[in-house]
């Protein structure tokens, strides 16, 4: 082995990489917010009486869960591009990950909903609560506990998926910045090792804060 490690330039690039990490977090958080929104719609559509709606939801969920995330992002950028819809790197990546998140989370929500016994809703209604009120006060909080950890996992997964942005030309997220630095200096190992540590810490940060939050929220 005749490779000499040069860590100093990597550490000098740390501020740039941390700014990149902020973009990474931005994509992940946005994709989760949008993902939850679409997942709720998908979960509702899955239980709908309209065949078309059910079919559309099922296709989304099946595709999101059973094809590579890389392809989903690729399709949002180049695929839609060939159809004349041109998205920039950032929105294309966001769309791809949102598509993936929504598919997984829709199933999570469906399972969460099924985990709350229907007798809970009945008991709430018997006290004079309306359907929506009973759902909001009794079913949702219990469902939230069931989906909380899967939601956390998906958030970690979303952070890691953002690294795929590099294939649709995103150059200001953590992987994008690292790749630019690498191309300029060829200190591949150092830069990517450092980036990996930052991804690891981001993921850990999410898991640990989730654990803390769960401890605060779920006292029962």
């Amino acid at each position: 082995m005749n490779y000499t490690f040069h860590w100093l330039p990597a550490f000098r690039a740390l501020p740039d990489m941390l700014w990149g990490a902020l973009v990474t977090l931005e994509v992940a958080v946005l994709s989760m917010l949008l993902g939850v929104f679409f997942a709720v719609l998908l979960a509702v559509a899955s239980g709908s009486n309209y065949r078309v709606l059910r079919g559309a939801a099922a296709s989304w969920i099946e595709l999101a869960r059973n094809t590579p995330a890389l392809f989903q992002i690729y399709m949002a950028y180049f695929g839609l591009g060939s159809l004349g819809i041109h998205l920039d790197s950032f929105p294309a990546l966001l769309a791809g990950i949102t598509f993936n998140n929504a598919g997984y989370l829709a199933e999570t929500f469906r399972g969460g909903l099924r985990a709350v016994p229907p007798t809970q809703l009945r008991a709430a209604r018997s006290l004079g609560m309306g359907q929506i009120q009973a759902f909001r006060l009794i079913v949702l909080p219990q469902m939230f506990r069931v989906v909380f950890y899967p939601l956390t996992n998906q958030m970690v997964w979303a952070i890691l998926m953002t690294s795929l942005g590099v294939i649709v030309g995103l150059n200001n997220d953590l992987t994008g910045v690292t790749q630019e630095l690498n191309v300029r200096s060829f200190r591949t190992f150092e830069y990517f090792a450092l980036a990996a540590v930052i991804y690891y810490l981001l993921a850990k940060l999410v898991t640990l804060s989730a654990r803390l939050l769960a401890w605060r929220l779920f006292r029962y």
């Binding site: 007798t119 809970q120 009945r122 008991a123 709430a124 209604r125 018997s126 006290l127 004079g128 609560m129 309306g130 009120q133 006060l137 009794i138 909080p141 219990q142 506990r145 779920f218 006292r219 029962y220």
Partner: protein, 241 residues
């Protein structure tokens, strides 16, 4: 002031479980409903507060037709408390919060008012020591008493009990029956679906024997339980006593 049940029929799909039941429960009365499993007695309770729709007939609560199109069921249910076989505690709320929730969110009481009501009702059923505890830490009997307090917190005019002791361990049945005895002694109007024949005999003004979706025999407990006229009633009582 009464619950009037007039020729009510109720089916689940092709299966008719309530086949023309007529009965009136006057304010202040305690009516126990006994009968074998699947005789339609629990279903009838669900129909009284509109948790289950009916196929034909009428149920009037203080003159309001429960199943009429324009009836505000949410409003009507405020005066009909129900306690279920599976107590259905809300697991994510403390005992106090379980009881406070409906007075606050349905009746629009302030937090302080709701808390005062909840503390009063919980003390009444003997749970004053358990206010801050989550239901998972309670025994079945305690959870069931909490469910009774939760229904009472709405100050209902009527209380429906759906086999409230059936899912309890035998040693916990007594404390729940004691709570119901207390309510009846205070003049609460109650319809009690139960398998506790001795209890029915003791607290009821009238006992109705359900058989195959119909009221087979109804009258004072001394008659229906003490000296039943119908052979089906005799056979049923023989099987449970």
């Amino acid at each position: 002031m009464s619950i009037e049940i007039k020729d009510v029929h109720k089916s689940f799909g092709a299966l008719e479980v309530v086949k023309g039941v007529t009965m009136t429960v006057e304010k202040g009365e305690v009516v126990s409903v006994i009968g074998g499993s699947g005789s339609g007695k629990s279903t009838l309770l669900m129909c009284i507060n509109g948790l289950e729709p009916i196929n034909s007939g009428h149920i009037l609560v203080d003159g309001t037709d429960v199943h009429a199109r324009g009836t505000d069921l949410n409003k009507l249910r405020r005066k009909i408390g129900i306690v279920f076989q599976q107590w259905n505690a809300f697991p994510h709320l403390t005992v106090l919060e379980n009881v406070m929730l409906a007075p606050r969110k349905v009746l629009g009481k302030s937090r302080a008012e709701a808390e005062a009501i909840a503390v009063e009702k919980l003390s009444h059923v003997g749970l004053a020591e358990k206010l801050k505890v989550y239901p998972s830490r309670l025994s079945g009997g305690q959870q069931q008493r909490m469910a009774i307090a939760r229904a009472l917190a709405m100050s209902p005019d009527y209380m429906l009990f759906d086999e409230v002791t059936s899912a309890l361990d035998p040693q916990l049945v007594g404390e729940v029956l004691d709570t119901m005895r207390l309510l009846s002694s205070e003049g609460m109007t109650m319809i009690v679906v139960t398998h506790e024949i001795a209890f029915a005999r003791e607290v009821s003004n009238r006992v109705a024997f359900f058989h195959k979706g119909r009221i087979h025999e109804i009258g004072p407990p001394a008659q229906v339980i003490g000296a039943p006229r119908e052979p089906e009633t005799v056979a049923f009582l023989k099987s449970v006593l």
